[in-house]
């Protein structure tokens, strides 16, 4: 593969090069990349803004992360936050700092992933910054979304008696990461060994390396006439997220183990790793599913919706945050979760 040094393009040349194939599609995008700032229409709705920073060696490892998938995932992580506000993502800005280890071709791969995510979710890339770093790659993305004021869903609206719901399934992304780490360790011991991921790997690796954001739920909620009472995206594991909702809402929660969705491949892989599947759902990270609460009067509206599970109930703050296991026991849940600090 050709290796063009980033310095041959210069900063502005590099930005032009990386963004030349992005076409704005959102009506609200008045002006995109190329000026001091992007311009976005104000309109009759409210605007939500979220930002995330991904650091090489902390959030991703190039031993097993393809650049294109990284670009895709970096966007998805941010769109997931917009979906968690029950808003539609419309624009992103992308800033990157990179060491001179990265060639233009490598950046093109990264931006191909960013472009693929923009296409999948119909969002416009409207700005960013490109600079050098002393070490590794850092990606900072800001996502901008929009929703009618009355539909925006915060973490703080859960009420006693509300049902706790989860989309998709949990734990698979964490197990995908464990598979990758295991093979990395094997490879370090013996670089001639071919990876043997096992039969559950394809789904688990996809969940880890190329997750999707549940922006589809924003449309589903609108279609079904539901506004969740609270919502958060599950990036740090179910335990951490339910604690965020309980703290913000001043309530407690009881989670039914039998209601927590876990994919069959994740179930089987967890057992192979001698892990309890519910632990991977509670403490694993990066599933990017949605955790939300609804008023019980909306139960019939969601009961038969696909890919959506009722997994517990909001209780009084004094009752704490607990898990009702399949065996019938009640355990307190601890707010452990994915901690990118000091890892």
């Amino acid at each position: 593969m050709q290796r063009t040094d980033v310095n041959t393009l210069g900063e502005f040349g590099l930005i032009d090069h990386l963004t030349e194939n992005f076409v704005n599609k959102q009506q609200t995008t008045i002006l995109g990349v190329g000026d001091d700032a992007a311009i976005i229409a104000g309109g009759d709705e409210q605007i939500v803004i979220s930002t995330d920073m991904l650091v090489e060696g902390i959030h991703f490892d190039f031993t097993y992360t393809p650049l294109k998938h990284l670009g895709y995932k970096a966007v998805v992580v941010n769109l997931s936050d917009i979906a968690a506000m029950n808003a539609r993502p419309e624009q992103i800005t992308v800033s990157i700092a990179l060491s001179n280890r990265f060639s233009v071709e490598a950046l093109d791969e990264l931006y191909a992933g960013i472009a693929a995510a923009c296409k999948t979710y119909g969002v416009d890339l409207v700005g960013g910054d490109t600079t050098s770093s002393n070490k590794g790659l850092i990606i900072s993305i800001t996502a901008i979304g929009r929703a009618p004021a009355g539909r925006i869903t915060r973490r703080s609206g859960a009420k006693v008696g509300d049902l706790i719901c989860i989309t998709g399934n949990l734990g698979a992304a964490y197990l995908g990461l464990q598979l990758l780490e295991r093979e990395k360790a094997v490879f370090k011991d013996n670089p001639e060994m071919q990876p043997k991921m096992g039969e559950h790997a394809p789904y688990l690796l996809q969940r880890q390396l190329r997750p999707e954001a549940r922006t589809d739920m924003v449309d589903t909620f609108a279609k079904e006439g539901i506004v969740p009472t609270s919502m958060i995206d599950i990036s740090d594991g179910l335990a951490s997220e339910i604690f965020h909702i309980c703290k913000a809402s001043g309530v407690g929660a009881i989670i039914e183990e039998s209601g927590v969705p876990i994919h069959n491949d994740a179930q089987l892989q967890a057992l192979e790793f001698n892990l309890d599947p519910i632990t991977t759902a509670l403490s694993g990270g990066e599933d990017y599913e949605l955790l939300f609460t609804i008023d019980p009067k909306d139960t019939e509206k969601i009961r038969f919706l696909p890919d959506l599970y009722i997994a517990g109930e909001i209780v009084a703050k004094e009752d704490g945050v607990k898990l009702h296991t399949k065996g019938g026991n009640i355990h307190p849940i601890k707010a452990q979760g994915w901690n990118h600090f000091g890892e």
Copy 2:
């Protein structure tokens, strides 16, 4: 000074700690820090968004940069971009990645500077991300501003015959940096040597370490009934910026050396360094003044405004981008500028 390890707070504890003293003041800030995303009112105007990333060792050097000034400057750099759109900044998000070399007390200093800038400019901190890095400090800020659609000023509207204007003065920030670099070199050779910055240093160091954004000009333009035909902020030197305007507008420019404002301290310091003062204005960076063009019919509206200089005229594209020197010569200007790539 006490040194509290960042890990003792955890990511969420750290965010709470760093943002607890920020109070939202903008009517458009519906919800700030603490949820998946911030919420900002849509309103009748357009929204402008700009983002910048600052990397330790590339954009700043802790040998001579106080953390509080760094926090202040990191905000100012972004507000300057919003001012360059002729919009009023209203919100910022701040993401930081930091190695475990930084204590909570160090971060508090950084955020004290961020808070000071928020107070000076009346902007709200509404979100961000905090994570660890393998090396050094990286700050990524996104600024959000607002303006009536008809007042937003892009780079692309300059027309032949328009007057070229500059606010404040140029070159001083670059000379401040040269002073700091000189003293750093002296200190490396002999750590017992006390810095001798010279009589021009106070102003030049202030311009380098604690610059201001010309958001006041947005109010001035509104009051005087002027909409510039094009505008950009001068972060990479006058030469680089006039090229951006000429490229975006499809025009050329002639800059009058006699019209380029240079502070007396900068003049004298440049001569001490054996530099031509106009070179520091053309190729130095980080002045964060505004370069804009106006229709000649608006000349009377700006002629007697303080701190604002007419420094040339927009000409046809074929005539190129040139400098008319005090000596009466015409030189082509090259688009060299501040390049953070590969430094």
